[in-house]
């Protein structure tokens, strides 16, 4: 299903039929096909294909982060975007861009990573007294997110020129338009490692369901596992944000849907969230290209439009609205 979605998404909005896509793919594979005109070939191979791949990778990463954060904080509303991690990553990335080290993908990713870890550290510091087991997690996360959003605006307005402000703003909303092969490779490697790490913590994540004392008495090393999981989700979020900006609500929507299908056990929940997250973002991105064509609406705007009603639904189900 993921493969089919990706192939379909490559075609959507490219202005080329199946034959052209076949020829582009065939050419790359060294098959004896009539080569495409260089421009169209480049359009498909250097813009569209990495864009779809990146959508899949980022969707998978964000969905997995959401599933993990929801279990670690025991809060069904946790999501890298709502907890302010995405905002922190944005601030880090913007600082790197403004300081002029934007030349390399690794520079931006590094900046985003530091930003993500700093915002997560701040969140944990603020929650130290009350513990992770409360609705305060999301409230505090929103506060942290606002702080970093304000910092980002401040940095942009004081040190950016008009063009870079426009570019960065578009990116901050979460846009896949600038996808290139380098970010695809970085994302793929980090996602593969991150997914393996959190999947190996499946049993521990299941154990967190009844709180830290029960988890610990089940044989989970609570402190170490928490640090490993939180750092891994921070890294995954940072890489996703560095690649496409802050796309919100994927981590909220997808795990809820998947839990509904396969139940809450993480051995199944995590890999399936990755797949569904990938499909979800590939399709949302394809929609943003088609619905407002020829205008490009950042994909983050779309995921928020879908995510906010779901957020309200979860709140209502919990009896807090």
């Amino acid at each position: 299903m993921l493969v089919v979605s990706m192939v379909l998404a490559v075609r959507i909005g490219v202005g080329a039929g199946w034959a052209e896509i076949g020829r582009a793919a065939g050419g790359r594979l060294g098959l004896p096909v009539i080569p495409l005109p260089r421009l169209l070939d480049s359009l498909i191979w250097d813009l569209r294909v990495p864009r779809v791949l990146l959508a899949a990778l980022v969707g998978a990463a964000l969905a997995v982060c959401g599933a993990v954060l929801q279990s670690v904080t025991r809060n069904s509303l946790a999501d890298p975007y709502l907890l302010g991690v995405s905002s922190g990553a944005s601030t880090g990335a913007v600082i790197v861009v403004v300081l002029g080290f934007a030349g390399t993908q690794l520079g931006v990713t590094g900046g985003a990573l530091v930003g993500a870890l700093v915002s997560f550290g701040l969140l944990m510091l603020l929650l130290k007294r009350t513990g992770l087991d409360s609705s305060r997690v999301v409230l505090t996360g929103v506060v942290v997110g606002q702080l970093f959003a304000a910092l980002t605006s401040l940095i942009l307005l004081t040190s950016g020129d008009a063009d870079s402000i426009r570019a960065v703003t578009n990116w901050l909303l979460g846009s896949l338009a600038s996808a290139r092969w380098t970010s695809v490779v970085v994302c793929a490697v980090v996602l593969a490692i991150g997914l393996l790490v959190v999947w190996l913590c499946s049993a521990a994540l299941d154990g967190f369901a009844f709180g830290t004392d029960t988890a610990s008495s089940l044989g989970v090393d609570v402190r170490t596992t928490r640090v490993v999981l939180l750092v891994t989700t921070s890294v995954l979020t940072a890489v996703a944000v560095a690649a496409v900006g802050a796309v919100g609500f994927v981590g909220l929507i997808v795990p809820h849907g998947v839990r509904f299908l396969v139940g809450p056990l993480h051995r199944k929940l995590l890999p399936l969230s990755a797949v569904v997250g990938a499909v979800f973002l590939v399709w949302t991105d394809a929609l943003t290209r088609v619905v407002f064509s020829p205008l490009e609406v950042p994909v983050g705007v779309f995921t928020a439009l879908l995510g906010v009603p779901l957020f309200l639904l979860v709140l209502r189900k919990r009896g807090e609205l």
């Binding site: 025991r74 008495s217 089940l218 989970v220 090393d221 139940g263 809450p264």
Partner: protein, 260 residues
């Protein structure tokens, strides 16, 4: 497993909750921990379960200090059931019981046939087989309590610590649970509010008050009118019911300490 608590103290900043407790539980023994609310029973159990680091003193299982074990090694030797462990998650009864196998399997694999057989046996033991597929949210308080106990038994440990496991249980399930605690070869320490139930099923009672142990011995020696007056601030009559079990009757309190 022999459990030894030596000069154990624990507290939060500004308040000592468990004060210099020493206690030995022999292998296979079932010891009842009794005392009023706030007497330190739960805190002592948490220290014994390795969930809180004592500010002073130590806990040893078969001579080994428990802090030398990893959480995983500890969970294979000792199971603990909290008083109230709730979740928003939609886990099913059998899945919760399967959590008890966490420390017995590698990170790389899921539950195998042996794990499933053990969980099935413990669900049967606790009269939960028919509820195996029921989600947590649809369980009554007593069913949740029994599910946690099935989970703890599935850990297949030699020690078992239970914090008021009979709360929310109806009379029949209270009796069944306490019979189970009494007959397992496991070393059991169980905090209880019901003094008659404690007297009937425990080999020995430990009475706590203000964070210290004030009496430790056979039920008849611990449940005496003067001790109950001192610790619980009630006038009690100790006798036997028609079945020959120890029974505790209380007179209406004439005066009440203001609730702190």
């Amino acid at each position: 497993m022999r459990i030894e608590v030596r000069n154990l103290s624990w507290g939060v900043p500004g308040k000592t909750i468990v004060r210099d407790v020493s206690l030995t539980v022999e292998p296979g023994e079932t010891v009842g921990l009794i005392g009023p609310n706030g007497s330190g029973k739960s805190s002592l159990l948490r220290c014994m379960a390795g969930l809180r680091a004592p500010t002073n003193g130590e806990v040893r299982f078969d001579g080994v200090e428990i802090t030398s074990w990893s959480a995983r090694e500890r969970a294979r030797r000792l199971a603990f059931v909290e008083q109230t462990a709730d979740t928003d998650s939609d886990l099913r009864v059998a899945e919760v019981a399967m959590l008890g196998r966490t420390a017995h399997r590698s990170r790389w694999r899921g539950p195998d046939a042996e794990d499933h057989a053990i969980v099935a046996a413990e669900l049967e033991e606790l009269d939960l087989t028919g509820l195996a597929d029921r989600p947590w949210k649809q369980l009554s308080g007593g069913e949740r309590q029994r599910t946690h106990l099935a989970r703890a038994l599935a850990q297949r440990t030699s020690g078992l610590l239970l914090d008021e496991p009979t709360n929310h249980l109806d009379v029949r399930h209270q009796l069944e649970l306490m019979e189970l605690a009494g007959r397992t070869p496991q070393t059991v320490v169980v905090a209880l509010h019901d003094l008659a139930l404690a007297a009937r099923y425990c080999d020995r009672l430990v009475l706590m008050h203000g964070g210290t142990v004030v009496a430790n011995g056979q039920a008849a020696d611990v449940l005496t009118a003067p001790l109950l007056r001192e610790v619980f601030d009630v006038e009690a009559e100790i006798g036997h019911d028609e079945l020959g079990h120890l029974a505790v009757g209380y007179r209406s309190p004439v005066r009440r300490e203001p609730i702190r």
